[in-house]
Amino acid sequence: MSAGTSTVELTGVSKRYGRTRALAGVDIAFDRGVTGLLGPNGAGKTTLLRIVATSIGADSGEVRLLGRDPHRSHADVTAVRRELGYLPQELGYPSDMTAFGFVEYVAVLKEWNDREARSQEVRRVLDAAGLADQASLRISRLSGGQRRRVGLAQALLGDPRLVVLDEPTTGLDPAQRADLRRTLSALGHRSTVLLSTHQTEDVAALCERVVVLAGGTVRFDGAVTDLVATAVGQVWLADEPGDDALVSWRTGTGRHHVVGGVRPVGADLAEPTLEDAYLLMLGPDAQRVHTPS
C-alpha cells in the first residue's frame, strides 16, 4: 500500500437496487482504528459495508481497498480478501457444523492450510469471541448471541487488516458487549475496523470516529465528541415533556429527558449523549451534511 493511502477509500460511490437509491455519491475514507457507522434503517449502512467487504460492487464511483481496486481483476480482489474479515448482518450457518467446525471451514477458505496452525488459530479466535467452552457444540444448539459470536470469530481469523462488522452486537447481553468492545478496541490498534450498529452507546464507548448515514448520503463524518458537541444546549431534564421537543421520554427518576425544541419551563440543562446528538442530527431540521473542519 502506497504512503498516504487510506485503508479504505470510496470516491463518488453510488448503488441502486432497482428504483431504490441505497448510496448516492459517497466520498469517504477509513484508516486504522474503530469507526462506527450509524443511521436509520434503509440509510445505506449495510450496502456500504458490503461494498467494502467486496460482497457486492458499486454501480459507480471508485473503491480502493488496501491500496487495490477490487473490481480490476480477480487477483486484486483475492489479495484484498486475504486481509479482510467480514461479519454480515445476516449470517446463516450449516446446521450440522460445530462452532469449531464452521470457523475451521472458513479458515480453510482463508488459506490456513497447515492443520496444526489452523486449529490453533481457530481456538484463538473462538477464545477471543468468548466461545472457548462452546467450540464443540453444534451451532444449531447455540443461542442467538453465541451464533453471532461464531460469526465474529470467523471474521477475526488471521488478524485481518480490514475488519467489517455489520451489527456485531445484535443479540449480545451487556457483559458480552463489554467483551466485544474489549476485543475490538485491541483490534483497532492494528487494523481498520468498521462497524455498523443501532446501539449508539457501543459507538460512544468504542469508536473515535463516527459516520452518520441517511438516505444514502453521509450526514456526519468526524469525531464522536464533535457529534456530541452539536447537541450541547439542546438537551434537558424537565418535570414535564416538551411540547415541541424532537423526542422526549420519562426516565427512571421520574423526570423527562427532552431532546430538541424550546427549553421547557423549569428544565435543567443535561449533558447530551451520542444518541441525543444522533436524534438531533437526523431530526426534521438536520438537512445538511456536517463535517467538522
Binding site: 480453510v108 492450510n113 470467523q154
Partner: protein, 298 residues
C-alpha cells in the same frame, strides 16, 4: 500485518476442504441411513433366502447398494451443498472461489464410494463363502473382468449419486429439489432401459446412469445377461460423475475460463466415446444361461 502467517492456497488447501466435506458426508444422517439399509438388506437377503444352490442372482445385488447408498447420497450431498451456501455472504468474501468450494464438496463422494466398495466386497465374500449355482452368471461362467466390472458398478454409482447431489445443490435451490432429482433419476433409469432390455438393441440402453446387466431369474430358471461392455460402461459412469462436478463448478461464472470450457468439452467427448464403446464392444447380444432347475416357475 499480524505476525500470524497466512500460507498460500494449493493442494494442501483442497485436501483440507476435502477432508471437511468427506467427514460431513460420512456423518450425514440420510447417508448413514442409506448405508445401514443397504447392508441390512444385503445381510437379510444372504441369510434368509432359502436356496440350496447358493446365493441367487448374485450379479443383481450390486444394484441394491447402488439404490440405497447411491440415492440417499444424492439427497445428502445436495443438502451439504445447500447448507454451506447459507453462509455464502461470509464465505464468498474469503479468498477461495465458489468453484473451489464445489471441488471440495466433490470429496463428499468419497464416503459413498467407500461404502459401495465395502458393500461389493461383502457381496463377493458372502458368495465365496456360501456359493452360487453352477449356472449362475458369476465368476466361472463369465470372464472375471466382466464380473468385476458389474460388481464395481455399485461403488461408482454411489460416488456418482453424491456428485449428482452436489450438482443438484448448486443449481436447484427450491425445497424438495433433491427428492425430485431422485425420482427423476429412477424414472429415467427405468424408462430409458426397460423397453430395450429384451430386444436386439439392448446395448443402447447403456446411456442411462444406472443400467442393469442382469435381469434376475427368468420364469424358466435361466438368467439373462444383457448386452454391452460393463468395463467401458463403468468408465462412462465415471465420466458422467466428472461432468456432474464440472456442471456444478459451472455455476460459478468466474470459473468459466477458456481452459475450463475446453475441459468440459473434452469430458463430454470422452463420455460419448465411452458410451459408444460400451454399446458396441463386449457382449453383442443378450446371453441366456443354462437353466437352474430349482428356480424354474413355469
Amino acid at each position: 500485518m499480524s505476525s500470524l502467517s497466512m500460507p498460500a492456497s494449493g493442494i494442501a488447501g483442497h485436501r483440507a476442504m476435502a477432508v471437511i466435506e468427506a467427514r460431513r458426508m460420512a456423518r450425514h444422517p440420510v447417508f448413514v441411513l442409506g448405508v445401514a439399509l443397504g447392508f441390512v438388506l444385503l445381510g437379510l437377503y444372504v441369510v434368509l433366502v432359502d436356496d440350496k444352490t447358493g446365493i441367487p442372482v448374485a450379479l443383481t445385488l450390486p444394484l441394491l447398494g447402488a439404490f440405497y447408498i447411491g440415492l440417499t447420497s444424492v439427497i445428502a450431498a445436495a443438502r451439504l451443498t445447500r447448507s454451506t451456501e447459507v453462509a455464502v455472504e461470509a464465505v464468498a468474501t474469503a479468498p477461495g472461489t465458489e468453484a473451489r468450494r464445489t471441488l471440495g464438496l466433490a470429496a463428499a463422494g468419497i464416503p459413498p464410494f467407500l461404502a459401495g466398495l465395502v458393500f461389493s466386497g461383502a457381496l463377493v465374500v458372502a458368495v465365496k463363502e456360501i456359493g452360487v449355482a453352477p449356472q449362475e452368471w458369476w465368476f466361472g461362467t463369465l470372464p472375471d473382468w466382466q464380473v468385476w466390472s458389474i460388481v464395481l458398478l455399485c461403488p461408482v454409482a454411489c460416488l456418482d449419486g453424491a456428485l449428482l447431489g452436489v450438482l443438484t445443490g448448486r443449481w436447484l435451490r427450491f425445497r424438495g429439489a433433491p427428492a425430485m432429482v431422485v425420482v427423476a433419476l429412477i424414472v429415467v433409469t427405468l424408462l430409458g432401459q426397460a423397453p430395450l432390455l429384451e430386444t436386439s438393441s439392448s446395448e443402447w440402453r447403456l446411456w442411462v446412469p444406472w443400467a442393469i446387466f442382469h435381469t434376475g431369474d427368468n420364469a424358466d430358471g435361466t438368467q439373462t445377461l444383457i448386452a454391452g461392455n460393463p468395463a467401458a460402461y463403468l468408465c462412462y459412469l465415471l465420466a458422467l460423475g466428472a461432468l456432474a462436478v464440472l456442471g456444478a463448478m459451472w455455476h460459478d461464472r468466474t470459473a468459466r475460463t477458456p481452459r475450463f470450457r475446453t475441459l468440459v468439452a473434452a469430458v463430454v467427448a470422452a463420455a460419448l466415446a465411452l458410451f459408444v464403446l460400451a454399446a458396441t464392444t463386449g457382449n453383442h447380444d443378450n446371453r441366456v444361461s443354462d437353466p437352474i432347475p430349482s428356480r424354474a416357475t413355469s
